[in-house]
Amino acid sequence: MKSEDLLRHIGSVKDEYIEEIMTESVRTARRRTDSRRMITSIAASLAVVILGASVIAMHGAPVERDDLSLTGNVHNMAMAENSIVMLDVNPSVLVEVNDRNVVVKVEGLNDDAQTVLDGLELAGKEYETAVSEIVTSMQKNGYITELKNSILVSAEAATDEMARQLIDISVDVITQIDETVDYGFSILSQMIDHTDSAAALAEKYSVSEGRVDMINKFVGEHEDYSFEMLIDNNIQLLNQLFEYVGLPQGIERIGSAAGVVPAECEEKLALNELSGQELLSFASAISDFYDKLSDYYSAGDVAKRIGYEFSIVEQTTEDGQKLWAVLAESLTKSIGNHGAIINIGKGTADWLSQDDTGKMIEDLVGAIIKAA
């Protein structure tokens, strides 16, 4: 084939690509909340062109025209922009999607994300397919399990409608995967605007702008927490924290985070008396307790609390430290009971042997009665 033939073939591509260059001014831009966003907005407003139209007289004669400078129709030129979706677990993956929901670029923002993306060829695929492959790879690599069931989806697009559409697609795809594996995903989602400050923090900590934005939203509502305190934690622990403290505004959640104290037990605890750092440690210790239980039960059973009874008792020591005794009483004698003492002042949870668990409960109950 000669290059002339290729030039001819290019002339036969899909109509939609031709329409695009005829009727639209295409620009790749990310929505911004800072001054650069303002510039983009102004550019969009100015993207109006007056097309000249020649007036022709048609009386059976061949078409005649004046020159092309005559004024004529005004065509609003829609801005076609790529959108960004970020998927965070601990791996942080950035997916750039064009206006046809086709993946243009995928970027791993941290080492874990490189592991997830290893061997995946996602550019050129439909967005749904890419999300499915990324989340499935996260599962295969152990970043998502029954006990680590949280994922954050952040969408950044030219309009809220476009961002919402991408979030909805993402949630649908992840939900479909969940129906297959029955992990009981907890899907956090949010629409975000690009800011230079968030981008700088995201780059500094090798995470997505979405994770930075979510933490900023939370910290903005809770003075007891700082960005630095939270940024090194994965989405699972942040989601567990939200289970105790509440979701920040602008974050939506479908499904509960695994590895937290059941709501009925939480009501008996005075967790609101804990400082931000203490509650974070508590959430982490409870999560560790569930992880350790998976040595004795399947991870799915641990997450869904099948086969054992979960209980937790809170006590304040003489020096004002809080202690919690956590117990998983097996409903089948062959597995036995498993417990732990959580002592934030001294560090993390201490795992107790089976022989100690019975005594632990007696001691704690005794201590509580004494304190009362």
Binding site: S3, S12, V63, R65, G72, A80
Partner: protein, 186 residues
Amino acid sequence: MDDRRIVELFLERSEEAILQTDIKYGRYCHRVAFNVLGNTEDSEECVNDAYMRVWNSIPPNEPDSLSAYVGKVTRNIALDKLRQKNSDKRGNGEVPVLLDELAECLSGADEYERRMDSEEIVNALNSFLEGLSTTERGVFMRRYWMAEPIADVAERYDISVSKTTTMLFRLRGRLKKHFMKEGISL
């Protein structure tokens, strides 16, 4: 006027159809023709021929996209005219440079190997375009479909000429790889 209504006017054999087509797409058609032919007089003739061909082909054709239809007709006529007028040279428009650029996308396979079905090639081009960002696709289409000079493409996308040149160079490389991946030897 709505494209659908213009097509209906063609179907009704109303000459108003050509008037409305020219009002809406005349400038664009002229631009395509001029980019290929590099001559105002030839471009005028090309666009007029294109209108007549559209008039004669609707009906029986009933295009879903009038803009793409008119554009394709204009482009094909312009390339035909260029071939007729310049059997021994390549003309004055952008085409000579375009052809040199597009030669980079060819693999150099021999004639037997490169006998590919046109539909396969167009399908491969479509899947290549599908995977590009909107800007990349626009730059590629404006350069190789509309035959726009690189400086005009750069200005339209508010990027430098050198960046546009680099982008086009990379896109040609990617297109060549895409063809190879699709099993197409050109």
